[in-house]
Symmetry: C2
Subunit: 169 residues, 2 copies
């Protein structure tokens, strides 16, 4: 498995190459690599434990179980994917009988509202149970204060970048 290297190897004394700021030293790149590292390991673990749905389908299922009567557009906003891919994942979940879509209206607009089926709930509960031991082992490293700090740091990161782009608009 890949190793996440944290320290930058210091350059040996070299010609006249100037040293400047590096993007790979920024906190946002640190977060990007960390997230990729964790995601890779978690997907590996997930695929060992679950063969019924893909990791992305699992996340959609979990999201839907928390939000009733979502239209596809709102679901897309929650999972940060575009409408096209959100629809495709729902196609697969619907084919497996784990979610159902119903034509409805929202603000006088035709939408397809998504809901989890009993079969979907059953699978989701089963998956959560299979994950419980791993989840508990993960949580042991963090105490409550660590968690608060981590979430606050992530929020700060989002804010610091959102500010950049809003200025751009």
């Amino acid at each position: 498995m890949y190793f996440l290297q944290q320290k930058v190897i210091s350059m040996p004394t070299e010609t006249s190459k100037p040293t400047f700021m590096h993007y790979i030293d920024t906190p946002s790149y640190d977060m990007e690599l960390t997230s990729k590292y964790c995601k890779t390991l978690l997907v590996q673990l997930f695929n060992k434990i679950c063969s019924e749905v893909s990791p992305e389908e699992f996340i959609v299922l979990d999201t839907i179980s928390c939000h009733q009567d979502l239209c596809q557009r709102d679901l897309a906003k929650l999972i940060l994917k575009d409408r096209a891919n959100t629809g495709r994942i729902l196609d697969s979940l619907e084919k497996k009988g784990l979610v159902e879509r119903s034509n409805d209206t929202k603000n006088n607009r035709l939408v397809r509202k998504v809901n989890i089926t009993d079969c979907g709930i059953e699978l989701l509960e089963s998956l959560i149970l299979r994950f419980k031991p791993y989840h508990e082992k993960m949580c042991k490293i963090f105490n409550d204060e660590d968690l608060l700090i981590l979430r606050a740091s992530l929020k700060k990161m989002r804010d610091s970048i959102a500010q950049l782009v809003e200025i751009q608009i």
Copy 2:
């Protein structure tokens, strides 16, 4: 632009659907979404500022400029991509004259060592300059202590998940 929703909408009083732990409430999913959100915005910003290389090529260029005589495998470890994609990115950078590869040996094994060219350094410096105002604006939100805390939190996250998989091996 999409909104990152942090709070889970509480379910209205409903039938007998049981409530259970949700993956989307875990810190690692929080980090995953945050990273994706930030990456999307930063790539958007990058593409406005730079047309010479892709965001991934920029990261490879920045990484190579910090590590001399990397072989492709070691570069792949640093950027958390597989050997195939690492090689493909280097093909593109080499074609643009920004990096050069030399056949060499490491531990008596044939490897292709990668180094940045003068032309590559020049472009990298230019890109860093173009990014400076945005970088400074981002940094203003964090003080030194915040940064330390954030990096420590990320490290803790990596450790908590690495521990899971090492047990699996």
